[in-house]
Symmetry: C2
């Protein structure tokens, strides 16, 4: 039964949650406003009260997804570790653990949407680029500190490496979707960790 417009915050949130679920399952273009309303349990009038169109919802969903990820990773136990290198490996372990689930639940809304509509929906592309960049940005300080401590003379760039971690994660999702299984994504994260261990040898060892 469609929810009334009495609680606009809950209605908006239901639509954003529906967007995360349905778009990650079938893509942006295949997802209709009717379907999003049905999945959210809200009326079409409520939809258009909150969003001018499906593109506007996708932009808001990209921000909502990014904000959720930011909260999740900021609150993770590995953030408390003293060595920035340990925090990085803690991040990778958490990414690996987050792969334990069904593909539409564990893959990335941003990578999914930008792959499909990068050329046709510039506003969605920008929102996805902003979210991916912001998430990569949360790793730069740890990578830079770990480099200063464990590989001070190396010639690679912390910002570039932070983006590379996201390239590996996004590509791991693509291969997992192809395989219909996340094991290949876990393997890709193992390779990424081996690369980081190679770039950042443990000076305590």
């Amino acid at each position: 039964m469609p929810r009334t417009a009495r609680d606009p915050v809950a209605t908006r949130r239901s639509l954003l949650d529906a967007a995360l679920r349905v778009i990650r399952e079938k893509g942006f273009v295949a997802t209709s406003v009717d379907e999003l309303c049905a999945a959210a349990g809200v009326s079409k009038g409520a939809f258009f009260h909150h969003f001018t169109d499906k593109e506007a919802l996708a932009v808001a969903a990209a921000e909502y997804f990014s904000d959720g990820a930011a909260e999740l990773f900021a609150a993770a136990p590995h953030r408390e570790l003293a060595d920035p290198r340990d925090r990085l490996f803690g991040y990778l372990a958490m990414r690996r653990a987050l792969l334990d689930g069904a593909l539409p639940d564990v893959t990335c809304l941003l990578g999914t949407m930008v792959q499909e509509v990068y050329d046709t929906h510039p506003a969605v592309r920008e929102a996805c680029a902003f979210g991916i960049g912001a998430h990569a940005g949360t790793l730069v300080a740890d990578i830079a500190s770990a480099k200063a401590r464990h590989a001070p003379t190396a010639d690679w760039d912390p910002e570039s490496l932070a983006l590379h971690t996201q390239a590996v994660i996004q590509g791991a999702f693509v291969l997992a979707k192809a395989a219909g299984d996340t094991r290949v994504a876990v393997d890709a994260l193992d390779h990424l960790e081996r690369y980081l261990r190679c770039l950042l040898p443990d000076i305590r060892a």
Copy 2:
């Protein structure tokens, strides 16, 4: 002007070329049969003479794209190098060179389609998985030989590393689409090369 059905091989090829171009630009679902016919310069009758529906064309396009890539890489000069490690770095250099162009021309049809329709079009997913796996497979022998020669005691698996190279490449495309620029993809390939140099130190150095 629509081409007549007199040359079925050319008609089929025009439709496959159109699929490569249009689907990489706007995705599978957003691409209509009408649009594919217009881009190929063929009639709708000709389309349905060759393909039962858009999904059948997408499956054939995945095979066509994979066959084209197989020919291109098999004929590359780096295949003539004596050391398998050099052939691997030659492959990466070629992938980097192939990034020089517009995003719809240089990105991967398989990764694009599987990201979008992995859950909704199993036949397309399978064709994409087959193509990505086959391409990764062309690297396994060189990786295994390079490992035997340059890192015989290492504990990583050549097949897994071959798949990982494809994860990086697919993720590099996602980040390039987000950025609207292939430079970030070149950076990801540089990181991949640094990883391979770390796994396969040059015993001649």
